[in-house]
C-alpha cells in the first residue's frame, strides 16, 4: 500500500508507538548531545594546539628524533630561505616564523625557575601570543633583552611588567652565558605548565645569546587546519627534491596529548553509541515482534490476497523505517534543544592542569547530528529485520487461523 499502510500501521497501538519513538528519540538526543559536546571540546583543544604549535613545524629529523648532542640540528639561514621559497608555493599558506628554543634558568636573585625560552620574531603574527596578554604587551620588533612571561611564572617569581630577571643558558658551543631581561608583558594560556615554563624572547637576541645565526624550527601557519596533512606531504616531497635535510611535523604529531584525547573521545562516543544502539535495537525488536504477532491474521489475509513474501517483508520493514525516521528526526530536534539550553546555561568548568575556568559548550551542526541520526536509524532498521522476516515466512493458512 505504498507508504500509507506502513505509516498508518504505526498508529494502531499509539501508546506503544509513542514509547518506541521516545526510546529512539531519547537515544538519538543523548547521542547527539554527547557527540556535540565531545566535538566542541575536541575542536577547542585542536584550536589551542594549533595556536601553540602552528599547523606544522619544519625541523631537522635529529631534533624530531631527539638524537643529537648540542645544537647540531639548527637550520642555517640559507636552508631557512629555501624552505621559505617552498612554502610560498603552497596554496593555503598563511605565514611562517622561525624559532629558536633552548632551555635555561630564569632568576630574580631570590628564586630561580627552569624555563624553555622561545626565540620568536616579534611582530610576526604566527605564534606571537600577543592576544594572550594580561599585563604589559607582547614583544615588539624593536625589543632586544625583553621577555614575555607566563602568568604562572610571574606569580611564582613575583614578576611584574618592568621587572628585571637574569637568564642563564648554554651557548651552541657549550659555554655558559647569561643576560638580564626586562619583563615587557605577561601572557595567559590554557595550560598552566606552559605558562610556568615558556618565555618568549626576540629571536635575534636569542641567536646572539646562543652565538648562532641558525634557528631550530620553522613554524608554519595555514588558512585551514584541514589542509595540514596535504601540505605536509607536499613539503616532504619538496624538501627531499631540493636536497634539504629537514622534515615537517604536523600539529597533531607534535601534540601527543591531543591525539590521546581525540582517540579517547572517539572511543567514548563509540562506546556510548554502541550502548544506545543495543538498547534501541532490543526495545524496538521487542515492540516490532509484538506488533507482528498481533497482526499475524492480517499478514495471512494480505498474503491470501496475493501479497508476496518479499512484499510482506518490505511492508514491515517500511513500518520500521518510518519509526526509525520519525524517532531519529525527533531525537535530533530534542538533542538540538538540549544543546541550545546547555550552551545558554554557560556552565563553567576548571579542567585539570588549567587555571582559567572554561565555558562548557556543545556543537550542533550537520556532522554532529548526522552520525547519531544514522546510528539510531540503522539500529532501528536492523531490529526490524527479524520480525519482518518472520512475518514474511508465515504459512498463509496458519496465519489465517490465528484469532
Amino acid at each position: 500500500m505504498g507508504w500509507r499502510l506502513p505509516l498508518r500501521s504505526l498508529w494502531r497501538n499509539r501508546r506503544r508507538t509513542i514509547l518506541s519513538l521516545l526510546v529512539i528519540a531519547l537515544g538519538t538526543a543523548v547521542s547527539a548531545f554527547v557527540f556535540g559536546f565531545l566535538e566542541n571540546s575536541r575542536l577547542q583543544i585542536q584550536q589551542s594546539t594549533v595556536q601553540e604549535y602552528g599547523n606544522l613545524q619544519i625541523a631537522s629529523p635529529e631534533l624530531w628524533n631527539s638524537k643529537t648532542d648540542g645544537y647540531g640540528y639548527l637550520i642555517a639561514p640559507a636552508a631557512a630561505a629555501q624552505v621559505g621559497g617552498l612554502l610560498a608555493q603552497e596554496p593555503g599558506f598563511r605565514g611562517s616564523t622561525s624559532q629558536l628554543q633552548f632551555p635555561g634558568l630564569l632568576g630574580t636573585g631570590r628564586d630561580t625557575q627552569v624555563i624553555r625560552a622561545l626565540g620568536i620574531e616579534p611582530g610576526n603574527p604566527v605564534l606571537d601570543f600577543a592576544d594572550h596578554v594580561v599585563a604589559g604587551r607582547g614583544l615588539a620588533p624593536t625589543d632586544t633583552a625583553a621577555v614575555f612571561v607566563g602568568r604562572t611564572l610571574a606569580d611564582k617569581l613575583s614578576l611584574s611588567v618592568g621587572s628585571i630577571v637574569m637568564a642563564t643558558l648554554t651557548t651552541v658551543h657549550g659555554a655558559y652565558n647569561a643576560s638580564p631581561f626586562t619583563v615587557v608583558g605577561i601572557y595567559k594560556y590554557t595550560n598552566a605548565q606552559f605558562e610556568e615554563q615558556v618565555v618568549f624572547i626576540p629571536l635575534a637576541f636569542a641567536q646572539r645569546l646562543l652565538d648562532t645565526d641558525g634557528v631550530d624550527r620553522i613554524v608554519v601557519s595555514l588558512d585551514q587546519i584541514a589542509e595540514t596533512s596535504t601540505v605536509a606531504v607536499h613539503l616532504t616531497t619538496g624538501l627531499a627534491a631540493s636536497g634539504i635535510a629537514l622534515a615537517p611535523r604536523t600539529w597533531d604529531d607534535l601534540s601527543p596529548f591531543y591525539r590521546q584525547l581525540a582517540s579517547y573521545f572517539n572511543a567514548l562516543f563509540a562506546f556510548l553509541s554502541f550502548a544506545i544502539s543495543i538498547l534501541v535495537f532490543f526495545i524496538i525488536l521487542e515492540v516490532q515482534t509484538l506488533a507482528f504477532l498481533e497482526r499475524t491474521r492480517e499478514v495471512g489475509t494480505i498474503r491470501a490476497l496475493g501479497t508476496t513474501q518479499r512484499e510482506v517483508f518490505v511492508l514491515f520493514f517500511a513500518e520500521s523505517a518510518w519509526l526509525a525516521a520519525l524517532g531519529s528526526a525527533s531525537g535530533v530536534a530534542v538533542g538540538a534543544l538540549l544543546i541550545a539550553a546547555f550552551n545558554a546555561a554557560k556552565i563553567q568548568w576548571l579542567p585539570p592542569g588549567t587555571i582559567d575556568y572554561f565555558t562548557l559548550g556543545a556543537k550542533i551542526e550537520v556532522g554532529t547530528v548526522l552520525v547519531p541520526f544514522a546510528i539510531s536509524f540503522v539500529a532501528t532498521l536492523l531490529s526490524a529485520l527479524y520480525p519482518a522476516a518472520q512475518a514474511s515466512r508465515l504459512r498463509v493458512v496458519d496465519a489465517l487461523r490465528v484469532e
Binding site: 500500500m1 505504498g2 498508518r8 494480505i302 490476497l305 496475493g306 498463509v396 489465517l400
Partner: protein
C-alpha cells in the same frame, strides 16, 4: 425465465479443478484425513455452494482451491495448469490475478478506509493511480458503498464490511471468487443481502462463485450444491432452484 437463467453459466473447460486431492494432518501418531481423493471442477459462471458440518473439511477444501495451501496428494488445476509445482511467488501471482477471496470475519485491514481496502489488490497489481480511483469508485458504487468510501472498517456494520470484502475480491476482475462462510457473522437479513449481492455479481460479471457454508439458508442460492462429508464431496441435485426471495 427458468431458475438457472439467473446464473451466468458458460460451458467449456473447467476454470478450477481438483483431481484426486487428499489433505491429511498429523495429530500425534495418527493421520487425520481432512479431504480424501476429492474430484471437483468449476466452470466459468458457476455458483457453487458447498455445505457441510463443522470440521467436515470445508475450509480445508477452500484453502486448497484458493492455493493458499497445498494438498498432501493430488493436484489443483487453474485454467488447466497444475499448481503443485508452482513456487510460493507463482501461487501469490495466481491469487493476485485470478482469484478473489471473501472471509467469514471479513478480514479487512483496519487502518485502511473502505476504498483503500478495495484498492489494495490493485496496488499489488501496480495499476496506475487514475485507473485505481476509477475502478474503486465503480466497484464501491456497485456494492452500494460509495457514500461510505472513506470510512474505516470499525465504522461500518458487519454487512457493510462484508460488502467491502466482496468489492475487494472482485476489484481485479478475477475468474473465481471463493467465499468462506460469508454470512456466518451476519444476521439473517444482512446475510441474505450479501448473498443477493454475490448472486447479482455472479450474473452480471460471469464470475464463478464457490461459497462454503454451514448455513442451510445459503444453499438456496446455489446453482450447484455440493455436500462435504468426512472429507468427501458429494454433488447434490439442486433440482428446481428455489428463489432466495421466495
Amino acid at each position: 425465465m427458468g431458475s438457472d437463467s439467473r446464473f451466468c453459466h458458460v460451458r467449456g473447460r473447467p476454470f478450477l479443478e481438483a483431481r484426486d486431492v487428499t489433505k491429511t494432518y498429523q495429530v500425534g501418531a495418527e493421520t487425520v484425513y481432512a479431504l480424501r481423493d476429492v474430484q471437483f471442477a468449476a466452470l466459468q459462471g458457476d455458483f457453487v455452494v458447498i455445505n457441510g458440518p463443522s470440521g467436515s473439511g470445508k475450509t480445508t477444501f477452500l484453502n486448497l482451491m484458493s492455493v493458499i495451501d497445498r494438498p498432501t496428494s493430488g493436484d489443483v488445476f487453474i485454467e488447466g495448469q497444475s499448481t503443485s509445482a508452482k513456487s510460493e511467488g507463482q501461487l501469490a501471482l495466481l491469487r493476485k490475478t485470478k482469484i478473489g477471496l471473501v472471509f467469514q470475519s471479513f478480514n479487512l485491514i483496519p487502518v485502511l478506509s473502505a476504498a483503500e481496502n478495495v484498492e489494495y489488490p490493485l496496488l499489488l497489481q501496480k495499476r496506475p493511480p487514475a485507473e485505481r480511483r476509477t475502478r474503486v469508485a465503480a466497484m464501491l458504487s456497485e456494492v452500494g458503498l460509495d457514500a461510505l468510501a472513506r470510512r474505516r472498517p470499525n465504522e461500518l456494520s458487519g454487512g457493510q464490511r462484508q460488502r467491502v470484502a466482496i468489492a475487494r475480491a472482485l476489484i481485479t476482475g478475477p475468474m473465481i471468487v471463493l467465499a468462506d462462510e460469508p454470512t456466518a457473522n451476519l444476521d439473517s437479513k444482512t446475510g441474505e443481502a450479501v448473498m443477493d449481492l454475490m448472486r447479482r455479481l455472479n450474473e452480471e460479471h460471469c464470475v464463478t462463485f464457490i461459497v462454503v457454508t454451514h448455513d442451510p439458508a445459503v444453499s438456496r442460492y446455489a446453482q450447484r450444491r455440493v455436500r462435504i462429508h468426512d472429507g468427501q464431496l458429494i454433488e447434490e441435485d439442486v433440482g428446481g432452484l428455489a428463489s432466495p426471495a421466495s
